[in-house]
C-alpha cells in the first residue's frame, strides 16, 4: 500500500467547484451541534440523543399525499467499487448553511440543498480496507470530517472540498476498516473503527478538530491488570477480543457522557478459546467525553458467539416515572433484546426479547442475559436467530413515547468450522434458513412490549444487513421504507399507512427532514440516488 501516488490523485480531483448562484457558506457554531434539527441536520442522528425526531409539522397526515419530488441527485461516474457492483448511499446526509454533505466509501460530495447540484467532490484513492458502506461526515465550524475505508481521518474545508489534513488511526493490514460517521462533541472529533476478520481490539479515539492530534483513546477490551480482565481467560485473549465501535454513539451534554455501542467479540463464532463474559464487547458503555474514561457499562450480549454486533443506536430520552424525571437510554439490540437503562447509573429497567428467541435461560441480578451454551455454534450446526436488526437507524418520538425499529424475525444455522482450542478469525459460519421476515415495531420502552407491529409482506428474505432507517416527526409521521423500493409514511401512534411511493431502489441510508426557505423537506438516499421531497410550491 503506497500512499504517495494517492496524495496527488486525491488533490487533483478534490475541488470540483460548480457555482450557479450565491455560494452558500458553511459555518457550524460548535454550540449549535446536536441541538434540535430544524434548519440544519448537524450530526449523524440529527441531534445528540439518537431519537431521529423532528419538531417540524409543515408536512403532516393531512397533506402527506401531496408530497412531490423536488430533485434527485444520482451518483454517477464512480462505477463498480471493489466488491460492490454499484454505489449505494448508506450515509445520513448532514445539512449546514444550505449545503448537504453525502458520502459513499472513498467519496464526499457537497450539494446545494436548493437544487441538488454538486458544489464539491472529494475523491479518496482506494488503498485497501473494506468498501462496505459509509455512514456520513461530521462538521465543526467550516471543517468536514470523513473516515476512509483504510482508516484515515480526513479534514476537509467545507466550502471548497479541499483537504486540510489527514491522520491514520488504524492499520488496514490488520483488517481494521472504517465506515463510521465521526461525532463532534465540544472540541472532540470522536472516531470509531470496524473490522473483525483478524482478532484485533476495538477502540474509540478522540481527535482535536483543528490539529488532528489524538486527545484520548478508549480500548473496548481491558488491559494492564484492569479488574474486567477476569471476564477473559488471559490478557492476550482480551487484546485480540474485538468490540469494534463502527456506529456513532450518542451524547448527554448535561452528564458529559458518551453512550457508545460496542461490536461483536473475537474470535466471532468460536467462543471456546475465550471463556467468560468478554467485557466490554457487546455492550453499551458510558464514557466521559473529555477523557474517554469508562463510567459504567451494561453488557447486552455476554460471551457473544453469534456476531450479535451490538451497534444499534443507544437512544436517550427522559420520562417521568413515579413522579420523578428519569434519564433513560434504550436500545433495540441486534441480539433480539430490547433494553432500557438509567443513563446516569447504567441500572437496567427493561430487558426483554422483541423477536421470537429461545437462547437464554434467564437474567443475572445486573439484568444481563444468561446464554444457553447449547445454542452456541457447533460442528453439527446450531439454530439461533438471525440479527434482529442492524445498523439502520431506529427512532424515538417524545409525542408517542415509543421506540421504533425495523426488526427481522428469522433463524440461521451456525456452524463451528474451527473446533481447535485456539480458534482465530470468525471460526464459524452462520447461514440464514427459512423465511426472514421484516417487521416494523413500535415498542414502549418502559415495558419492552410492542404497541403495534407492521409485518412487511415479501416473498424474499429481508436483507438483514441493509434496511430502511426511521424518522419520526411532531406531526405524528413515521417515515421509513420496505425492501421493495417503497418509501412508506405511517402514523407514528397507530402504524397506519398514510402514504407510499415507489422509487428506484430501497431506502438505504438515513432519512432526514429540515426547513429550507420556509419549506419542509424530506431527504433520503436509496441506492445510488438522493431524493428530496416537499409539498408543492
Amino acid at each position: 500500500m503506497k500512499l504517495a501516488n494517492g496524495v496527488f490523485a486525491a488533490a487533483a480531483t478534490a475541488a470540483l467547484a460548480v457555482t450557479t448562484h450565491n455560494v452558500p457558506h458553511v459555518f457550524l457554531d460548535p454550540n449549535a451541534i446536536g441541538k434540535d434539527p430544524i434548519t440544519a441536520w448537524t450530526t449523524f442522528n440529527g441531534d445528540y440523543s439518537g431519537r431521529r425526531y423532528s419538531t417540524l409539522t409543515q408536512i403532516g397526515p393531512g397533506n402527506v399525499n401531496q408530497l412531490v419530488q423536488r430533485w434527485v441527485y444520482k451518483v454517477t461516474g464512480i462505477g463498480a467499487q471493489r466488491g460492490a457492483p454499484a454505489p449505494v448511499i448508506k450515509c445520513t446526509p448532514l445539512l449546514v448553511g444550505g449545503v448537504l454533505f453525502i458520502t459513499i466509501p472513498d467519496h464526499v460530495w457537497a450539494l446545494d440543498a436548493r437544487t441538488g447540484n454538486p458544489l464539491s467532490h472529494y475523491d479518496w484513492v482506494d488503498h485497501g480496507g473494506h468498501l462496505i458502506g459509509q455512514r456520513g461526515v461530521a462538521i465543526w465550524k467550516s471543517s468536514v470530517y470523513f473516515l476512509t475505508p483504510d482508516n484515515w481521518l480526513v479534514a476537509l474545508n467545507a466550502n471548497t472540498g479541499q483537504e486540510l489534513w489527514r491522520k491514520n488511526y488504524a492499520d488496514s493490514r490488520k483488517q481494521y476498516f472504517s465506515t463510521a460517521a465521526p461525532l463532534v462533541v465540544k472540541n472532540h472529533v470522536i472516531v470509531g473503527v470496524g473490522g473483525d476478520a483478524m482478532d484485533m481490539p476495538g477502540f474509540l479515539d478522540s481527535f482535536d478538530p483543528v490539529t488532528g492530534e489524538l486527545q484520548w483513546k478508549w480500548w473496548s477490551t481491558p488491559r494492564n491488570g484492569d479488574p474486567a480482565l477476569k471476564t477473559w481467560p488471559n490478557e492476550t485473549a482480551s487484546e485480540h477480543g474485538g468490540g469494534m465501535t463502527w456506529m456513532p454513539g450518542t451524547y448527554d451534554p448535561e452528564l458529559n457522557l458518551l453512550y457508545w455501542p460496542t461490536g461483536n467479540t473475537n474470535p466471532v463464532f468460536a467462543g471456546q478459546g475465550r471463556p467468560g463474559a468478554n467485557l466490554w464487547t457487546e455492550s453499551i458503555v458510558a464514557l466521559d467525553a473529555d477523557t474517554g474514561q469508562l463510567k459504567w457499562y451494561y453488557q447486552v450480549s455476554p460471551h457473544d458467539t453469534h456476531d450479535f454486533d451490538n451497534t444499534t443506536a443507544p437512544i436517550l430520552f427522559d420520562r417521568v416515572i413515579d413522579g420523578k424525571v428519569q434519564r433513560l437510554v434504550a436500545q433495540a439490540a441486534r441480539n433480539g433484546f430490547f433494553v432500557t437503562l438509567d443513563r446516569v447509573s447504567g441500572q437496567h429497567l427493561v430487558v426483554k426479547p422483541y423477536v421470537p428467541l429461545d437462547y437464554y435461560s434467564g437474567l443475572t441480578p445486573q439484568g444481563e442475559l444468561i446464554p444457553i451454551p447449547d445454542k452456541d455454534p457447533t460442528v453439527g450446526g446450531s439454530i439461533n436467530i438471525v440479527n434482529a436488526t442492524n445498523w439502520q437507524a431506529p427512532a424515538y418520538s417524545p409525542k408517542t413515547g415509543l421506540v421504533y425499529v425495523n426488526s427481522v424475525e428469522g433463524k440461521a444455522i451456525y456452524y463451528l468450522t474451527d473446533d481447535s482450542k485456539q480458534p482465530s478469525g470468525y471460526g464459524g459460519t452462520g447461514d440464514a434458513i427459512g423465511h426472514g421476515q421484516r417487521v416494523l415495531q413500535a415498542i414502549n420502552p418502559l415495558t419492552g412490549n410492542a404497541v403495534w407491529k407492521h409485518v412487511y409482506p415479501n416473498l424474499n428474505n429481508a436483507p438483514t444487513t441493509v434496511g430502511p432507517s426511521i424518522l419520526t416527526t411532531a406531526s405524528n409521521l413515521l417515515i421509513t421504507g420496505d425492501d421493495q423500493k417503497n418509501v412508506i409514511i405511517y402514523s407514528a401512534d397507530k402504524g397506519q399507512v398514510l402514504w407510499h411511493h415507489e422509487i428506484g431502489a430501497n431506502e438505504s441510508g438515513g432519512v432526514i427532514t429540515y426547513l429550507l426557505d420556509g419549506k419542509q423537506y424530506i431527504l433520503f438516499g436509496a441506492g445510488d440516488s438522493l431524493y428530496a421531497w416537499s409539498l408543492p410550491e
Binding site: 471493489r82 466488491g83 460492490a84 457492483p85 454499484a86 449505494v88 480496507g129 473494506h130 462496505i132 483504510d150 492499520d171 490488520k174 483488517q175 470496524g194 476478520a197 483478524m198 482478532d199 484485533m200 453469534h306 445454542k375 457447533t378 460442528v379 453439527g380 450446526g381 446450531s382 439454530i383 433463524k411 444455522i413 456452524y415 468450522t417 481447535s420 485456539q422 482465530s424 478469525g425 470468525y426 464459524g428 459460519t429 452462520g430 447461514d431 440464514a432 434458513i433 427459512g434 423465511h435 426472514g436 421476515q437 407492521h454 409485518v455 412487511y456 409482506p457 415479501n458 416473498l459 428474505n461 444487513t465 441493509v466 425492501d483 421493495q484 417503497n486 402504524g495 415507489e502 431502489a505
Partner: protein, 288 residues
Amino acid sequence: MRHPAFRAMLAGGFVVLAAFAISQEAPTGDQNGSSQQKPYQNMTTEQRAASTRTFLGLGPEPDKAAAKRGEPLFQRNCAFCHGQQARGATGSSLITSDEVLGDDHGEHLVPFLKKGRPERGMPEFATMSDDQLMDITEFLHLLVEDVANRGTYQVLNILVGNVAEGKAYVTAHCMSCHTAQTFAHIASQFRSAEQLQRGWIWPTRGDDSLSATATVKTPDGRITAGRVAQVSDFRITLVDAAGPTHVIDREPGVEVQIKDPLAAHQELIMSLTNDDMHNVTAYLEILR
C-alpha cells in the same frame, strides 16, 4: 399486527448469499435481490475465496505451492515456539503479528527471519536459503488467509446425530404431510451432509409445487389465482397456470389469500432443537 392471517401462511424466502446474510453485510453490495453475480452458495470454493478476498480487501493472495513447501520447514524450525498453526505457544501468535501482516511476499519477513530477534530469544535463520525462508513466509500468509478469509471456511463433519432417534422423529413429525417415498434416497439428492441438512429443513422452491399461491378478489368480484411472484403492502404479482402475469394493486377492497406449501417448515424452523436437527440429518444421510 396488520396482516396476521397473511403472516401465518407466508413462509416464502430464497436464500441468496447465505454465508454472508448475517455478517455485517452482503458481499455484492446488492440490496434488491437482482444480483448480477453468481449466488455465493453456488460458487466453487476457489470462487468463494476470491470473492471474499476482494470484498474484504485482504491484500495479495498467498502462493499455495510455496506454502506447501514451506509447511514442513515451518514445522521443523518454528512450530516448537509458535505452535503448529502459528497461533502461539511459548512464543507469540504469528497470525496476528505486525511482522506477518505487514508483509506481502517476503520482502520484510525474509530479511527479518535471517536476523531473528535474539534479544527476545528468537534465533537467526541465516543458514536457510532465501527460497526456503520465502516458502515459510508464504506458509504463514496461507495460515493468515485461512483465518481472515471466511470464504475459505469449510464445515467439518456435521454427522453428529443419532440415526435411530432421527428415524423416530421423522416417523412422529413428518408423516402427516409426507410418505416414505419423500425420504427414499433423499441423501443422494445432495452434494454434502450440510446441503442435506439445509435441504430437508428448508427445501429449495425449485418447482412450482413448492411455490406460494394466492387467490385475489377485486371489488368488481373478479377472482385471480396463481403462483405468487412477489407481494408487498401495495401490490401482488401473480403468474397463472396459463402463463400470463397479473399485477394487482392492493387497493381498499382487494382481498388477498396466500397459501404457502412451506408454511409447516417455517414453523418447524422456529422451534427445531439442535438434537432433533442432528438426529434427523444422521438418519436421512443413510437413505441413499
